[in-house]
């Protein structure tokens, strides 16, 4: 049997040098692929202290080992870099077809280095890569950009690109492919800093498997399992558009910049209400779920708005943050973010911060280009998105994200910037779902719901055990969720699919794709997840991160949550220090959150021991 570790395309935009290389077998065994490859290469190749938007930073675009084949829900792809929002390690995951196309062209990883002297795009085919002029695309939105490239290079072309948000270095710019986004952490900003407008791949379908027969049998079993799973059926019907029904009912839907856990009148923004505006379904390559629910506004001030989405997080980002009940405005805002290439979560959360600053008198109408940010009125929110993307007026300040905007404003605004490590919080209130909250606090990329999601608290999941969502004594659960997410992302398996009953096949599929038997072992993959987590932590420690950056915002620790009619009234995060002590202990880290030499050696990260020893002194 052959071994297929994946091929890397390395492009230096400063020199124009293009090269290919294979991933060494040792790296494939230790890190498997996907996010594992991302942290291994970035840790090794980025010098500490590199400026995120400088020439020396690198941007990785990675497809998983399973992408582009018949198995379901594994053709996603991700961007990895050092984040301009957090200064920490970053990964952001995206759907659509681009990951499969990258594999069809013969690549698993693109490493973009340097900075082009003028706007360019990369055109990849199975014959190689060319750096092309993108002058006429600069300034264009993501829809126009993708249409132009498809017209130029033919229908077998798929594109990942930035919009004006990335070009203008909005700190939370996204990379967009079709209508899906690698949204979080500003990876689109890094792409913009390199004058890289797009990566277009023209290729026809071809299989890239070490053991196609074994893979085929496993993929058939996976498909059969998934199609009969109730979670899959629910996801196919609704996507994530019903999650707000649940989170409102249990008091963890953040409202008014994380002051309330339930939105008054939320019955107007339930999944059933959004369904009335649904006009289609869209899915990723080789996924029968087609969970992207398309919505179209036909009447009223937002008539004509049309978006694949909003899904749960974006519904929240454009309702709860500003206490709006307008589904139509949320659809318009979602479309605008996708067109402009902005992360919806950070956009909505930063705008929610601005609304509170207006309420508190820290931002006045004259500061806001004449806008009045009154709760319940979504019109200013929609206008602000475009201003942010173009860095126009007040948009220039808000384009920095909540943390930096607050620092520039001063006057106590820092209290209203709801973030961890500079990354704005997503749509689950930490005071009502505390393991979810402590994942935000300790996640290596900042406050991400996708980096260790706690289904035990939110959906009643029973693996590895049921938990009390108000308890702060579950560091083992937080670690279970974090490391589990890490090894799922070696194959860039869709996070939603992890509940569809097939994860016991995952390792076997990866082993068949790679031709490396040890990857079939679930316990081994668990160790890989822990290895990845520790290397990411080491990356951050090397950048100067300490325990100090592992805290939830002060609001969660000092102000009781108000939940209106839902349970959890008065909840606070009260035992943060005790939690971190226990979490670090279970992780095998020092009290400052630095991985110990013993733990690093146990994980085979001997090359990192010296770096961490320096930091422990």
């Amino acid at each position: 049997m052959t071994v297929n570790t994946g091929r890397i395309l390395r492009v230096n935009l400063s020199s124009g040098r293009i090269a290919t290389e294979s991933v060494p077998r040792k790296v494939a065994e230790d890190f498997v692929g996907g996010r594992g490859y991302g942290i291994r290469y970035l840790y090794d190749e980025l010098a500490p202290g590199v400026e995120p938007l400088g020439e020396a930073n690198k941007l990785l675009m990675i497809a998983g080992p399973l992408a582009g084949n018949t198995a379901q829900a594994v053709s996603r792809w991700m961007t990895c870099t050092k984040s301009p929002q957090t200064g920490a390690w970053a990964r952001s995951v995206c759907g659509a077809d681009f990951g499969a196309w990258l594999k069809f062209a013969g690549y698993e990883v693109i490493i973009v280095e340097g900075r082009a002297g003028k706007p360019v795009y990369l055109h990849l085919t199975p014959d190689g890569c060319q750096i092309q002029d993108a002058g006429q695309l600069w300034g264009k939105d993501t829809r126009v950009t993708q249409s132009w490239l498809a017209e130029r290079h033919g229908k077998n072309t798929r594109t990942a690109c930035i919009g004006p948000g990335g070009e203008n270095l909005v700190k939370y710019a996204a990379v967009v492919s079709d209508r899906r986004t690698a949204g979080r952490c500003g990876t689109g900003t890094v792409m913009g800093s390199k004058n890289l407008k797009a990566v277009a791949v023209t290729a026809a379908r071809r299989l890239t498997l070490a053991d196609p027969d074994a893979y085929d049998k496993l993929a058939r079993a996976q498909v059969s399992t998934i199609l009969n799973n109730p979670g899959f059926k629910h996801h196919k019907e609704w996507g994530t558009t019903t999650t707000q029904d649940l989170t409102n009912s249990i008091g963890i839907y953040p409202v008014r910049n994380f002051r309330y856990g339930q939105q008054e009148g939320y019955q107007q923004i339930t999944g059933a209400e959004y369904r009335k505006l649904r006009t289609g379904d869209i899915g990723c390559y080789s996924c029968a779920a087609r969970c992207g629910k398309v919505h179209t506004v036909k009447t009223g001030p937002y008539a004509g708005a049309h978006s694949e989405g909003p899904e749960y997080e974006s519904i929240w980002a454009f309702t709860g943050t500003v206490e709006s009940l307008s589904r139509e405005a949320s659809i318009a805002a979602d479309q605008l973010c996708d067109d402009m290439g902005l992360d919806t979560i950070s956009s909505g959360s930063t705008i929610g911060f601005a609304y509170e600053c207006y309420e508190k008198g820290l931002l006045k109408k004259s500061d806001l280009d004449g806008l009045e940010l009154k709760y319940g009125d979504p019109a200013p929110m929609v206008k602000l998105i475009k201003k942010i993307a173009m860095r126009e007026g007040i948009g220039d300040l808000l384009a920095e994200g909540a943390m930096r905007a607050a620092e520039k404003m001063g006057g106590g605004a820092e209290a209203y910037a709801i973030h961890v490590k500079g990354l704005e919080l997503p749509a689950y209130e930490p005071r009502g779902a505390k393991s979810q909250g402590y994942n935000y606090a300790t996640a290596n990329i900042g406050a991400s719901h996708c980096y260790g999601y706690a289904p035990q608290e939110i959906f009643g999941a029973i693996m590895p055990r049921p938990v009390d969502r108000f308890s702060e004594e579950n560091p083992d659960i937080v670690i279970f969720n974090q490391d589990g997410t890490a090894w799922h992302e070696t194959g860039i398996a869709c996070a939603f699919s992890s509940g569809w009953g097939w994860m016991d096949i995952f390792g076997k599929l990866v082993a068949a794709a790679r031709g490396i038997d040890k990857l079939a072992d679930g316990d081994y993959l668990g160790k890989v997840g822990e290895r990845m987590w520790n290397l990411e932590r080491a990356f951050n420690v090397r950048e100067g991160f300490t325990r100090q950056q592992d805290y939830l915002p002060k609001r969660m620790r000092t102000e009781p949550l108000h939940t209106r009619e839902a349970p959890g009234e008065g909840q606070m995060v009260s035992h943060h220090d005790e939690f971190l002590d226990k979490y670090y202990q279970l992780r095998g880290w020092t009290k400052e959150g630095i991985p110990t030499g013993k733990k690093l050696k146990e994980l085979g990260l001997d090359s990192v021991v010296k770096d961490m020893a320096t930091k422990r002194k």
């Binding site: 799973n229 899904e311 969502r469 996070a495 349970p567």
Partner: protein, 90 residues
């Protein structure tokens, strides 16, 4: 005969924060109906008007999914039931 029903976090506000309810039925459906008799507000959150388990919910018996045909599944003394949402994430 006693079957323990673990009340999930999203229903505990309907049970006065009770986390475990002991029922005495011989099927999943009988046990859940006993839960409803004790906490009537939970009925519309568990069942359709036709008495079927609502879409989006699943029941586990001792950690094993009871899908499909959840309500007719037999239970034995000492079994543990968990009610969960089938979706993951958002």
């Amino acid at each position: 005969m006693t079957v323990k029903i673990n009340i999930p976090p999203f229903f505990q506000h309907l049970t006065g924060s009770v986390k475990i309810f002991e029922a005495g039925g011989s099927t999943v459906g009988e046990c859940l109906n006993e839960l409803v008799r004790q906490y009537p507000e939970i009925k519309s959150k568990l069942f359709t008007r036709n008495g079927r388990l609502l879409k989006g919910l699943n029941v586990f018996i001792n950690g094993e999914s009871a899908y499909p045909g959840e309500l007719a599944r037999p239970v034995r003394d000492g079994d543990k039931l968990h009610i969960t949402y089938v979706m993951v994430g958002g």
